[in-house]
């Protein structure tokens, strides 16, 4: 009654399985081009980045390991280390509180002038460190605006720890805010609104909901902030009195040693800072690798 269709699949003839041409994607360069470009890039990086780093350690150990440790145990060096740590220990938490506060205000609310505020927060980045020191000299210096009043009351800001702290706070001002603002913008306000709807107060919401969300971005910002705080030179140089053992941070101490031709001692102290830099880079890379989802999009590799 009806036509039946009965087919089976036709198998193709078996051809030898050899790739016809090199398995390159269409969109890449010839191998020799790739290798040359890679070599040039790596040479550039090695020459400009790695060589100076290596030089620090080599020069530090040039006169032997003992001299190295002697330089570090020198009382002026220890005082410099202490001052550096103090400055960072004050500046970083202050900027942390500021960064969180600014990020909260900017990312959880809408208001006019928001982009202006963000630009203003970025200002310290575009100011030369020397100018950063200058502005505080203008205020607190003996010929400055508040200078006479301060010397009357015996308060020392410049050429003393407070001035150094202030300059450090200025140059590291935007770091944490800059990390948190894009991150919290991406995260939006949904989680906070959910918490509030469930009855949490503002503070509870912040501690239990927001903070866990931003903890890695916060760590990242603190890391960069700290690295800059400990390594700042220009701004601190202006406001410090360069008084050995008293108003010298580690970078300033390096300068003094260097200017006195105590090269290996200078490099010894510098090597501590270099190690700090390497540690910073290491943690930074680890954060970008392991927790890239919890950093802002600009940080993901």
């Amino acid at each position: 009654m009806s036509p039946a269709i009965d087919h089976s699949l036709q198998d193709p003839p078996q051809l030898p399985r050899e790739p016809l041409i090199e398995k390159n994607a269409v969109i890449t360069e010839a191998p020799w081009v790739r290798r040359t470009l890679t070599a040039v890039a790596l040479l550039f990086l090695c020459g400009f980045l790695l060589l100076p780093l290596v030089a620090v350690f080599v020069e530090a150990l040039r006169n032997g390991v003992e001299t190295y440790f002697e330089a570090l145990k020198d009382p002026d060096a220890l005082a410099a280390i202490e001052l550096t740590l103090i400055a960072a220990a004050i500046a970083v938490p202050l900027n942390l509180v500021f960064g969180v506060s600014a990020a909260w205000a900017i990312t959880k609310f809408e208001f006019r002038g928001k982009s202006l505020l963000v630009s203003l927060i970025d200002l310290p980045f575009s100011v030369s460190p020397v100018v950063a020191g200058l502005i505080y000299v203008l205020i607190f210096g003996s010929h400055g605006w508040a200078g006479p009043w301060l010397s009357e009351h015996g308060i020392k800001v410049l050429f003393s720890t407070p001035g150094i702290v202030l300059a450090t706070v200025f140059v590291t001002f935007p770091f944490i805010a800059r990390e948190l603002i894009p991150l919290m913008t991406e995260q939006g306000t949904d989680d906070e609104q959910a918490a509030l709807s469930l009855g949490a107060t503002g503070w509870q919401t912040f501690w239990r909901v927001t903070l866990p969300n931003i903890k890695w971005g916060l760590l990242y910002g603190v890391l960069l902030c700290n690295a800059r705080a400990m390594g700042e030179f220009g701004a601190v140089s202006v406001v410090s009195g360069h008084i050995r053992g008293q108003t010298n941070t580690m970078p300033l101490h390096v300068e003094i040693l260097y200017n006195e031709y105590q090269f290996s001692a200078a490099f010894a102290v510098a090597s501590l800072l270099a190690m700090l830099a390497l540690l910073t880079l290491g943690i930074k890379s680890w954060l970008e690798w392991r927790h890239s989802d919890e950093l802002s999009a600009t940080r993901r590799h």
């Binding site: 890039a41 500021f98 100011v127 020397v130 200058l134 509030l196 300033l252």
Partner: protein, 286 residues
């Protein structure tokens, strides 16, 4: 009769929000910002205003200041330019190719961000001084790097290296494969595809990176003063001149130079941003 509770200033600024803390956080933010940044910065302009236009001009146009400004800005521009070329190359290699140790080198690119400037300064000097690691080979060739403007350029290149790489890298990573395939299918060879299709998309990011690199290098102090030589009129950078004037208690002079730096940077940034906007407006009118 009780009076109604006064509305706070915060609520007048924006509509009601379910999330608390606006007044507190914005208030603290503005206070901190003003105290630490705005008021001190305003001081610079106030102080230089006290000199008057003539006074400022007198300081700024003196030969030593002019030379210092030329050096700071010139070296920064050249350093940023070098990084524009090599930084793009580095970004390309890292995004498109595989090679051993890639992760290590990728992390290393951020070294100038993390390394204290003084450390960089003495390290660069150790390399390029006449008896230095590299300098010793260049000296007989008559090339003097340390203690000359060339050294300043080298330091500027070091300090601004990551800026171009890190702004160009993400743009290259997002480049669409299909665009390159389309160009190839239309008959373009690799070089044509790169120059006509890929690089134009990268150009805005490149300009941004160049701008950031320049802005960073122009105000740089710590990594330059060791290698620069600091001879007035020859290898003296503007920030150093500011410090010298401060040590001489010439606050006004120092401020004038600082103000000149700020204004010049601002103008240059305007020009570069204008360029940026011009290249962007040609395409994305969404």
């Amino acid at each position: 009769m009780t009076s109604a509770a006064p509305t706070t200033r915060a609520r007048a600024l924006r509509p009601r929000s379910a999330i608390p803390g606006f007044g507190l956080t914005l208030g603290f933010t503005l206070l901190y910002l003003s105290l630490i940044v705005l008021i001190p910065l305003a001081g610079v302009f106030l102080k230089s205003a006290s000199l008057g236009w003539e006074g400022i001009w007198h300081v700024v146009s003196s030969p030593r200041v002019v030379a210092a400004l030329k050096l700071s800005f010139g070296a920064a521009l050249i350093g940023a330019g070098i990084n524009a070329v090599f930084g793009t190359l580095v970004a390309w290699v890292f995004v498109r190719y595989q090679f051993p140790g890639k992760r290590f080198f990728d992390a290393a690119i951020d070294l100038p961000f993390a390394l204290p400037t003084a450390v960089a300064g003495i390290a660069l000097t150790a390399l390029y001084a006449p008896n230095g690691w590299i300098g010793q080979y260049l000296e007989p060739l008559g090339i003097k790097v340390a203690y000359s403007p060339l050294g300043v350029i080298v330091a500027c290149t070091f300090i601004s290296l990551p800026f171009v790489v890190r702004t160009v890298q993400p743009v290259l990573e997002e480049a669409e494969k299909e665009l390159e395939e389309a160009a190839a299918s239309l008959g373009a060879n690799r070089w044509q595809t790169i120059t006509r299709v890929i690089l134009p998309t990268v150009l805005p990011a490149l300009i941004t990176g160049f701008t950031l690199a320049f802005a960073r290098a122009v105000g740089e102090y710590g990594s330059i003063i060791f290698i620069a030589g600091n001879l007035p009129m020859v290898s003296e950078i503007a920030p150093l001149l500011i410090i010298i004037k401060l040590e001489e208690f010439d606050y006004a002079g120092a401020t004038a130079v600082a103000a000149a730096m700020l204004v010049l940077s601002f103008l240059l940034l305007l020009v570069i941003n204008g360029l940026q906007i011009w290249t962007r407006s040609r395409r994305n009118r969404k």
